[in-house]
Symmetry: C2
Subunit: 399 residues, 2 copies
Amino acid sequence: MKQQIPFSKDIELAFKNDPPGQWLSVLPKGCIRLSSGYPEPALVPSKELKESVANLLDAEGDLPLQYIGSPKIPELKKIIQERLAARGVMVSDEELLVTSGACQAIDLIARVLLDDEALVALESPTYMEALEVFRNYTERFMDVPVDEDGLQTEIFAEMLKDRKRQGLPLPRILYTIPTSQNPTGTTMSQERREHVLALAEEYGFLILEDDAYGELGFKENPRLIKELDRHNSVLHIGSFSKVVAPGMRIGWVAGAEELITTLNWFKKDLHHPFAQSTMATFLETIDFDERLKHLAASYQSKCETMLQALQEFLPPSVSWYVPEGGYFIWAKVPGIDTVELLPKALAAGMSFVPGKYFFLNPEEGTEFLRLSFSYASEEEIVQGIRLLGEVVQKALAPK
Amino acid sequence: MKQQIPFSKDIELAFKNDPPGQWLSVLPKGCIRLSSGYPEPALVPSKELKESVANLLDAEGDLPLQYIGSPKIPELKKIIQERLAARGVMVSDEELLVTSGACQAIDLIARVLLDDEALVALESPTYMEALEVFRNYTERFMDVPVDEDGLQTEIFAEMLKDRKRQGLPLPRILYTIPTSQNPTGTTMSQERREHVLALAEEYGFLILEDDAYGELGFKENPRLIKELDRHNSVLHIGSFSKVVAPGMRIGWVAGAEELITTLNWFKKDLHHPFAQSTMATFLETIDFDERLKHLAASYQSKCETMLQALQEFLPPSVSWYVPEGGYFIWAKVPGIDTVELLPKALAAGMSFVPGKYFFLNPEEGTEFLRLSFSYASEEEIVQGIRLLGEVVQKALAPK
């Protein structure tokens, strides 16, 4: 029997056996959800997907409902290849695997590359689900701090040098979300991208570049690490979850052919023909670049609303990073334990995610919290941050 | 890096690096597909699923397209529970995991229960995909022959006794398809079901009961092994692939709570809200028992057509089991290597699957072949078997 570390499907179900997770898994009705890393309901194309299904099944009959056979399945792959090519990443059919969301891609990579001996390098803080995936395979981690320019590669370089000098094991993989990181919202600078790639080549680890938010930049993002990659040091992970709909469960991983082939052997949930062919049909009917522009503009407006509300309602001791894309704002509330703050916030009518979930060592997250501007409406965002301001003020008030 | 044994998504893609697999992966246009273990196109409810999607998205908007939130997801689980209960298997929410098809259930079980030390007991012949899944985790197998009453439990009992006496490792799991087995089409008798369960209790292994065809019996099937199970010795695996549509990728596994919880931790492709909520919507609008009756009657008619054609067109040396349900007929063609026969059959215009894929030791399958009566029309079945008869006669003719 392998390790049995509970892990969950979603932030709202995460850690459901510990109180904050339990609280978030049953949000009170009417609660303003600044905890949810979900797309805004109005930006989920449910009407268009309904039409896509109708057109697809009218045209193809049973094909998308059989194991294989729908021409839309290879077409989806082609669309992903074309989108990657437009961003400077050319991949062949054999270098690309369509997965059931980015999370499955991460899991497949972990299954193939990790064992109990493996050391995994992570950003600190990082995406909690990825952390939980890796914990199914190893307990050996090294975490590298993130600042407003992403992963601090200078510190990482020192850590690697030290480990090498001491004869300690070097990481087998580095998991990074270089663009609009979850949870910090920060983006790794171009210079650091080049640096981290050089480190991968020098120390022989693979970079898992999780690009879930990479197409939701408010301005032009730096180049993909995979674009800079010349020696197959990068596995690039993408997803339609943030830009179309997470419930379709479609992501991908691109990398060296041999590795992709192996990941494919271990992927036992097959092609998901219905979901994949629906997605291809939808993508063929829209201008995806226009869609992305619209999404980015919408989320930027919501982000600015949240930033303004934070400025207005939070005490001056509270600080945050200003995101350049994505779904999240990461805030520090000095002097407050955000796990203790959560029930008060929920009682007031808003939710956030306490920082502890995003750290290898939960204690490092005590004074942090993650806010999502993606799901709630602009009105709700203002109201939610106003309520957060009130509970923070109250918690900071001298007793 | 773990073992890297290529495996495939589907029979038609299976073993694509070896000639018969390659031939089957690119069937000539117009080829009568008696190789495909697919539902008949007309029995795949594409019109109804189209309507289900429309009704679902009209009613719920973005919910089935988000990570969680659609009330249809727990409803699907409830529907599966009710259907199992009607067959004498009561399982709680914690004892049931909805998976992306039966294949993912098998893989999750293998991931959690197997390692390179583990011994797996298998039916011989058995479902090739399951064999490939297990081979990702171990190379230790024991195969137990199948006859017209399914797994030969008396032989299995002797093998287990011998191993115990010799101090050899005992199997950790037995994988069985007790009803309308793939590929033999045979069904394990009630007596043998009770016997195999007693063996599991005596020797401490788990039974994986793959029930993919259990609801497609031409007459009443014996009771589920899971129904007889009193000590949580059975993991019951089911699927909507054969009775609704494989492209939806929805199956399940039911068993001991602790084990199901662990499988859930390792299931990283999440809930597939769009597919699962569509399936629930569809199931709520139909009389599933009526549907099953209709399917069974249709497949029984096709099976009888195939049996009659075999009788008519194949030489008397060829024999087969008469199935009582499912999708398959398993035939023995003495004196013929079915791998050599396949290109001739394809050239003549029909396909089958050579027996070798279904055996741990491929050589045991040389004279066997699997025919599916599920996918082709009755007319095609007659024509396909006529063509098969011709190539078999020709191959048997003295040179």
